[in-house]
Symmetry: C2
Subunit: 379 residues, 2 copies
């Protein structure tokens, strides 16, 4: 394909790993990256090794943001937490976004993070600094935590207002954010923006798998997305994410979970003996599969098991698609991720893959909001 120049907003776990993985991808050049206090731009391509080395163990993280972000690009909110050092930083991904600091040394302050790189400059408004370069950027991966439900939609507004015509990608997974993006659909279309939402492990990888598995059928009966997470050693550092998961239990909602003390959260976990099963989570998978024409949203279920007593996944992440073939047979096609694959491993590749797919749509004149399953081959 033709060359794709991309920028990364946020140099936490997702941002950093995406830069790293992009080095293995053809026709994909990172030309800009930022965190809270710094921005690096090089239209010939960033020196990713230098940038990553300079920020190793030196993430620009702010403890004030812990427990705030609530969206994720992981196999589940929980799963994202299972494999990482939490950061809760504006410049990086929080636990619940599936981010992971390569280092683990938490530091903060104006001289930390991207500014430590020789390629970077300090800035008061890093997002604006990227927007200033928009004419030379084909795609922007938004690897920022979605502090408020509308934080990432508002970032998109800024790009649109500045006259950006290109691709924006997020790795969120909460349905209501997609509704907010949909509200901006007309603006995106007028502006020539192709917004790809939920491009991480889930909805990304798993709804893509569902779209593929659905190909045997003319009528889909049910799509079941099921994840397993073991979170023993990472538990202490991932209370915020566990808190978000608790919001998915039938007895609680997001407001309840946010208002609970750490002790109250602990009590809920203890009540479940450390192993909590979630059913009918508010994941965007259902909406995105319906948008892609795979099935009705109501035929999609998302659930999983979080085990804080073990690092082993308590159950295997599985996508099951049941339907009826054109010749009247009913069957279930299955996609399973090996228990050994971490959430991060399942975010990086898909995010860049969907980014490239978004660029192709954009170049073909297709604008608006797209979910990962819609970017599968026309299925």
């Amino acid at each position: 394909m033709h060359e794709v120049n991309f920028a990364v907003l946020g140099c936490g776990g997702i941002g950093r790993r995406t830069l790293e993985v992009s080095e293995d991808k053809e026709h994909l050049t990172p030309v800009a990256a930022c965190d809270r206090h710094g921005v690096a731009v090089d239209h010939d391509g960033l020196d990713v090794d230098e940038l990553l080395a300079a920020t190793e163990g030196n993430i620009d993280s702010g403890p004030e943001n812990r427990d705030v972000a609530t969206d994720g690009g992981a196999e589940s909110l929980s799963d994202s937490a299972a494999h990482q050092t939490p950061m809760g930083s504006e410049d990086g991904a929080t636990a619940s976004e599936g981010g992971s600091a390569s280092g683990g040394v938490k530091q903060s302050g104006e001289d930390k993070g991207v500014v430590a790189s020789e390629q970077a400059e300090p800035t008061e408004d890093p997002i604006e600094a990227i927007i200033d370069e928009h004419e030379a950027i084909d795609a922007v991966l938004i690897a920022l935590p979605n502090f408020e439900h509308d934080f990432i939609p508002r970032v998109a507004d800024r790009f649109a207002d500045a006259g950006y015509s290109g691709v924006l990608v997020d790795v969120l997974k909460r349905s209501r954010v997609i509704d907010m993006l949909d509200d901006r659909s007309e603006t995106f279309e007028e502006q020539g923006i192709t917004f790809v939402c939920g491009a991480g492990a889930t909805p990304g990888l798993l709804t893509g798998a569902a779209a593929l598995a659905a190909q045997s059928y003319v009528e889909i009966e049910e799509v079941e997305i099921w994840w397993g997470v073991g979170l023993k050693s990472g538990y202490e550092d991932n209370r915020g994410t566990v808190r978000e998961d608790i919001a998915h239990l039938p007895e609680y909602d997001i407001e309840d979970a946010r208002g609970m003390s750490d002790e109250e959260i602990e009590a809920v976990i203890d009540d479940h003996d450390g192993v909590i099963e979630f059913e009918d989570m508010e994941h965007a998978d259902d909406v995105l599969l319906e948008r892609a024409g795979v099935c009705d949203a109501e035929d999609v279920t998302v659930g999983g098991i979080l085990d804080v007593t073990s690092d082993e996944k308590p159950t295997t992440t599985t996508v099951r698609v049941t339907g009826t073939t054109f010749d009247g047979e009913t069957g279930t096609n299955t996609f399973q991720l090996d228990d050994a694959t971490s959430m991060e491993a399942n975010v990086n590749g898909p995010a860049l893959g969907y980014l490239k797919a978004g660029v192709r749509r954009n170049r073909a004149g297709e604008y608006g909001v797209f979910g990962p399953a819609e970017l599968m081959p026309g299925f």
Copy 2:
């Protein structure tokens, strides 16, 4: 997406079913279809119901072509045969291409097939009749048997020579045909043709699944594609396909298999007690996965089990992708097709999905030869 007008060359199993399935697809309009003696064109969209009804049990098939075609878009050569009435007709798909006559009444002659439709006209050169309409056609599904290795490549030549700029799709699976298409790559690029090869169940659906499953890993160790086929009731009608499968046994090659009498074929089957296991088959899956950057061709194995004593699949069609994650773990992701899904069920959807993906590439200015895995979201 923007509207896609497509034509189908061949109204046998694959052609007919594709027309049928296209009615459920948005933005996809069949505007032309032909078989050996007739062509139907309507730029506002064919009346598919009428066309299918008129040709029901009335396929324009020629017995002289039995056992000739050797490529397939099925889960395997064998699998394609497991679920169909063989036709061996120039206008339709042969057993080994995964075609299936909806009717099963074999008829032939100049008044049979597409000409029976009110929308159709008789023609001496149906392919030329389609080519005449090329300016109004975005994509052409070539659902013809590949009598000679270069038959479909030569069909592509005719379109290129006529100045066609658009998408051509086949559902073949033999590696050497892809080499021939590659030889034409420069012509396709000059002409603005995007050729999508192997867009059926395999390599199509299964290499697409492999490309998806590979997303957890930074390094792929092995891709194993494994199929199961039960062919008891369909056996008598599918000797040609079984013959082709025998060419994949280590003791034989294609020339041997073609030269063998029916009795000699029977003897081979009897030697195996009716259950033949195939290893390292000459499928294009390996080449196409390498092209897509998923892994080296030598790391791909394709095999399966054909059981002519039962209609049940003797083993489940499975794609296993083993690799190493960015964080150093080794795992195997798995995609399985339910035993209840027939080969045809696994050809129709993917073929149209890849056709639409091909149109997007074409509109984005990407020309040449593409395998299905290359059409996945930039993975």
